[in-house]
């Protein structure tokens, strides 16, 4: 398994996504504390960190489901703060939420059709998703609730793809799935990247993240503790960044 499955190199020009000093609160709790990052076009950027670190909050803020307290989110240089979640799809940001969240009373095909309802023009459509996941066409009339976890994950990704995103947000793909299934799903990443999609993903499984990402970003209690290319990181460095050992609270990474 080679490291860095990215289709394209990290572009030298303006980043596709730029997050500047993002702070997000859940009531009194500060879930994200002045987090900054940039994602270039064609990258696979992985967020890692323990439970409660703020990874999903970050994705929810980028997708528009959660309004940040301060800071900015720029897509291609334009601030998306004024856009509601549904409008960000048209701008090119599509999220595959944690836990898949398919529409249980709809069939596989109907789930994809809903995903395509507000699609941008682009290379992805329902037929191409059926090519990507070869088991899907025979099962397309089945209710989404009847699928296995791994199948549901594939449909959820397909539902996001048919909207032709520029930036695809993947939240905890591996949650509740067997490693074999997870690996199979991650094997589809190159196809996504080849079609021009940039991926920002959240992953609990650090080794999986290191395998697929061009850069990783570690969060701990809402703050950045580590970021960089997988090749340049040490196991010890990762461990202390992940668990917050040997670091004084509040000290910069």
């Amino acid at each position: 398994m080679t490291r860095g499955v990215t289709g394209g190199a990290i572009t030298a020009g303006a980043p596709l996504l730029e997050v500047r000093q993002l702070t997000v609160h859940h009531g009194q709790l500060r879930a994200l504390d002045e987090v900054s990052l940039t994602v270039g076009a064609g990258e696979v950027y992985a967020m890692i960190g323990a439970n409660g670190a703020g990874k999903t909050t970050l994705l929810r803020a980028i997708s528009g489901l959660k309004a940040p307290t301060s800071g900015s989110i720029l897509l291609d240089g334009t601030d998306v703060a004024s856009l509601r979640a549904e409008r960000r799809v048209a701008a090119g940001i599509v999220m595959v939420p944690e836990g898949r969240r398919l529409f249980p009373s709809l069939t596989v095909e109907e789930n994809l059709q809903v995903g395509a309802s507000y699609a941008r023009p682009g290379p992805w459509n329902i037929d191409r998703v059926y090519e990507l996941f070869s088991w899907m066409p025979q099962r397309r009339k089945q209710l989404a609730a009847q699928l296995s976890g791994g199948e549901q994950q594939s449909v959820a990704i397909g539902r996001a793809l048919v909207a032709n995103p520029r930036l695809l947000l993947l939240d905890e793909l591996s949650l509740g799935l067997a490693p074999v299934i997870v690996a199979r799903i991650y094997d589809t990443l190159p196809d996504l990247l080849a079609s021009g999609v940039t991926v920002l993903l959240v992953e609990q499984d650090v080794s999986q993240a290191l395998r697929v990402a061009s850069r990783v970003h570690c969060l701990l209690e809402g703050r950045t503790t580590l970021q960089g290319e997988p090749a340049r990181l040490t196991a010890a460095g990762l461990e202390s960044a992940y668990f917050g050992l040997n670091t004084t609270p509040g000290a910069p990474a």
Binding site: L65, A85, R101, F103, S105, L106, Q113, V114, S117, A163
Partner: protein
């Protein structure tokens, strides 16, 4: 056999109940809103029809052409303003707001139309009856209402299952946030669903006005809300066929009860409702436990 006649009358009455119920079912299925003003909205439509007829002098049967679209618009606006505001505050708030709305509508109608009972005249074409044998009499009006109910429910079922908009409505009903992530403005979709619900309520109200006379407080006194709700529960939430079946069952049981004694008509239906609540709360057609 008067029992056969009673059953047939019950089936036809069930069509009217189903027409009442489908709006309620839609609002609850999609938005989880229990609209306590549902019966009063139907009566409001009836009064609106009275007004329209008085102004335009069109025959009562055609009043729906103006009233139904008007109510659809009303429904969309009500959803985007009132219902959405209450939804964000919780179930208790929506119950209280729709209850308040019920009181406002009933008393506003009384203020502007007086407490006298009204009825929507029906043309001579449909005031006649069909006679089968010596025992069975079917009023053409009842038949027409039943057919309208079936067509509306059929059409709604088809719309929800096959059209893009219907699919979006079902998606938003399943998972509002996931629908947002797919690009759907759920408030607008809710509005569409509310518009459809209000349109069916208007139809039901006009049908009711032709079927019998009504007063400003008929929404509560005629137990229209209760019957609509009972039809939904008996038939099972989540299926419009279930709603039709529930309405028919309710109508039949009521008419059979009326055969026993005229006072027992409503009571028979209530008891059926209680029975279903006890032994099969998800309704006849649904397999999941809903209640």
């Amino acid at each position: 056999m008067t029992w056969v006649n009673a059953i047939i009358q019950g089936v036809l009455l069930g069509g009217l109940y189903a027409l009442f119920a489908c709006g309620l079912s839609l609002l609850f299925g999609v938005m989880k809103v229990i609209n306590l003003a549902h019966g009063d909205l139907a009566i409001l439509a009836g009064y609106l029809a009275v007004g329209v007829i008085a102004v335009t002098h069109i025959p009562a049967v055609w009043s729906f052409i103006i009233v139904v679209p008007l109510f659809a618009v009303l429904g969309y606006l009500a959803q985007r303003t009132l219902i959405q505001a209450s939804l964000s505050r919780g179930v208790l708030t929506t119950l209280l707001v729709t209850f308040g709305l019920s009181v406002v509508i009933e008393n506003a109608l009384q203020q502007f139309f007086s407490a006298n009972s009204r009825t929507l005249g029906i043309g001579s074409l449909i005031s006649d009856s069909l006679h089968i044998g010596s025992q069975v009499t079917i009023a053409y009006l009842d038949l027409v209402i039943f057919l309208v109910a079936v067509v509306v429910l059929l059409g709604l079922q088809y719309y929800l299952s096959s059209s893009r908009q219907g699919r979006l409505i079902r998606a938003v009903a399943d998972d509002r946030e996931a629908a947002q992530l797919a690009g759907a403005d759920y408030r607008h979709i809710f509005g569409i669903a509310a518009a459809i619900a209000f349109a069916t309520v208007a139809l039901a109200g006009i049908a009711y006005g032709m079927y019998t006379s009504f007063t400003p407080d008929s929404g509560s006194t005629a137990l229209l809300l209760l019957f609509a709700f009972e039809a939904v529960v008996i038939g099972g939430l989540g299926s419009l066929w279930g709603t039709l079946l529930g309405g028919i069952l309710l109508g039949v049981v009521q008419q059979l009860g009326a055969q026993v004694s005229s006072n027992d008509q409503v009571l028979a239906g209530q008891l059926l409702f209680l029975l279903i609540l006890l032994i099969r709360p998800q309704g006849i057609t649904t397999s999941r436990r809903m209640a």
